[in-house]
Symmetry: C2
């Protein structure tokens, strides 16, 4: 058996991750359409023959340069069976198929992909958990040093994990130059462009095409709720802030959703189940998106908040459901105003917010543009990029 | 009846669309929490007082420059009632609220946002419909002239509507220079960047980081199924194609989903309901996304296909559901190979494919890199941008 990575004995693995061996294969019991594998810790993991053949990572089935599959399962009969199965001296699973093909599976990889009930529950329990926060976060902001994040991969990883799990971070010691955001985004991957540009300038403008570009109080919101995919991370970099007022306000939308779930479950479900139209108003663009305010992932866990009162269209729901929708919406907005959830902080020159735009709602108190200059530079990076970078750094 | 934007008499409208008046308000019947409006064609549309107050577009409630809402519904009592309601001489709905606020609603706007059952069904029926296609599309490709699309907004709109509704188009008369794609994307909005860059080069490479960059046969797939949001539009611009082989193949994923729904509904539902992990393999990135192969929108209509056998992770489903998942997956792949669905065409220099990457699966037949040069330039633009541009062009 030939090898792929470093060891002559290793079974090929069709990705770049590593799979430590936490248990050994001790016995194989072939059933009619699956192989029951028995592990040294007593777990039994059935693997269907289809599944095993599908995941063969040999040099014929997977192109070794890209590690991408060449084989397609539809090219073998649905009833394909092994002629022989065994555990070799290195503890790998070997299968000789009826059609003459041979497969070899690394026990660490196999265990990491087992789909018996226990293995699936174990993987689910290992998913990253959001750490919910409220007003107390004001005194314990996750702060990171810009130069460290730029120079050191460990510092970078710690910062990105805080962005992922807490959703609100501040960088300090940031130069007040306009090349900071592109350089910082490059530490993750690349900037997500929008109709406001690659970078945007948060300043009061006479010809504003968004209330963000006025000096008004802005209610708590997510950016670009009018898009199918709201931007994942938002960066706000303070170049100058000499104006009176204009403090940054944040709430943890996941914490509010959780509190609503506890305190008024029927209102929570209304916000999960009722699609709302968000619609921008602009001479040059006309984005709209129909989506619920609270989105759940495939596991039923809150994964996204979508909120922007000034970008919301008229509610469109069956007549009999409209009062409940207003009750739920009012309650959510009222909660974003409750002191228990709110973090209010002034951002000074040389500081930078980076937060999860799909979780952490942000706002700005009114400011007086005559009192001094106020200029923030902003950009977005998507969640995919954050998570991919974390995975690569953790390899 | 006056027009909307130009007249002093017009009720303000908080967006940039226009709302022709298709029926007149003829009677108002206040109920306990809603106003029943009667229209000249007999329709009755109830509007809750909350809803009416929420959608007041006066200069206090909406900032006239951005047309974005300043008012928040939570700032008035939930039980707010009108003191007086009437239809004025211009046919607008006037409301004097108990708290002294006044609202005025344009009848065209009101009708367009009515949420009685008939109005909602009417709007739903007006949604754009996908035109499904099969092998016959090979002889009736929607073809457009590059120069016309670049110079003329009507030609642009016709092309974009074909992209939206058919999902497969070809441009002809395209210069074979590398500045074409940025210029063309700018006619819509901007390019969506990915880890493969702003523009990507589809060429056979020795150090390929994707099977796309080899000369292999590529099975039918969508691009970047490993991302939360797959790119909406894909552009493939042929600069040179002197190689033997390497024909473009397309199938309408929506047509296959519809056929599967008809021919084997239980397999269709399995593909709608089972999240599959897509995972890229790369030294520099590690994207993964758990999502079903067939996605439905809020109306239950097929809105997206996600497919890439070479970017698929191992299936992870409960043991008892694994055989059904393989049956459904095999059937879908087998259908992508059926001649009734397949369009196979060679793209020559000066031609360009633009297709809906979330609907139209694409592939390439194997080619011989020694037989001649083959170089396609590619990029992505998201669906949001396509739809926004169409809306603005249609105003």
């Amino acid at each position: 058996m030939n090898a792929v990575d470093s060891s002559l004995d290793a079974a090929p693995i069709a990705d770049w991750r590593s799979y430590p061996i936490s248990a050994d294969l001790v016995n194989l019991v072939p059933a009619s359409d699956a192989l029951d594998t028995h592990w040294s810790d007593g777990r039994v993991s059935p693997f269907h023959y289809q599944w095993l053949r599908d995941n063969c990572a040999c040099g014929q089935c997977v192109y070794s340069v890209t590690r991408e599959q060449l084989f397609e399962i539809v090219d073998v009969p649905e009833q394909l069976h092994p002629q022989r199965t065994r555990i070799d001296e290195q503890g790998h699973l070997l299968i000789d198929w009826q059609d003459g093909h041979h497969s070899r599976f690394h026990p660490g990889w196999l265990r990491a992909h087992a789909y018996d009930e226990v293995s699936r529950a174990e993987r689910r329990a290992q998913r990253p958990q959001s750490q919910l926060w409220g007003a107390e976060m004001s005194e314990q902001l996750p702060q990171f040093d810009y130069q460290a994040v730029m120079a050191d991969d460990d510092a970078l990883l710690q910062w990105l994990l805080a962005v992922r799990d807490i959703g609100l971070t501040q960088l300090r010691g940031v130069p007040t130059t306009e090349d900071v955001l592109p350089a910082l985004a490059k530490r993750i991957s690349f900037i997500r462009e929008s109709n406001f540009g690659v970078l945007f300038d948060v300043q009061s403008k006479a010809d504003a095409d968004s209330n963000a570009y006025t000096s008004f109080n802005l209610p708590l919101h997510t950016d670009l709720p009018t898009r199918e995919l709201q931007p994942g991370l938002q960066f706000l970099h303070c170049l100058v802030n000499d104006a009176t007022g204009g403090e940054s306000v944040f709430v943890d939308g996941f914490a509010i959703a959780e509190a609503l779930h506890q305190e008024a479950p029927e209102l929570f479900h209304t916000l999960c189940e009722t699609p709302i139209e968000f619609r921008n108003r602009s001479r040059n663009s006309d984005y709209h998106r129909l989506a619920p305010i609270i989105a759940l992932d495939a596991y039923g866990v809150v994964s996204e908040i979508r909120m922007g009162n000034f970008l919301r269209g008229a509610f469109d729901a069956p007549v009999e459901r409209m009062p409940a929708l207003y009750s739920a919406y009012r309650r959510f907005i009222a909660m974003t105003r409750e002191p228990r959830f709110r973090v209010q902080r002034r951002l000074d020159a040389g500081q930078l917010w980076c937060f999860d735009n799909r979780r952490t709602l942000h706002a700005r108190t009114e400011f007086d543009p005559a009192s001094g200059a106020r200029h923030f530079k902003g950009c977005y990076v998507d969640r995919d990029e954050l998570l991919s970078r974390i995975h690569v750094l953790q390899r």
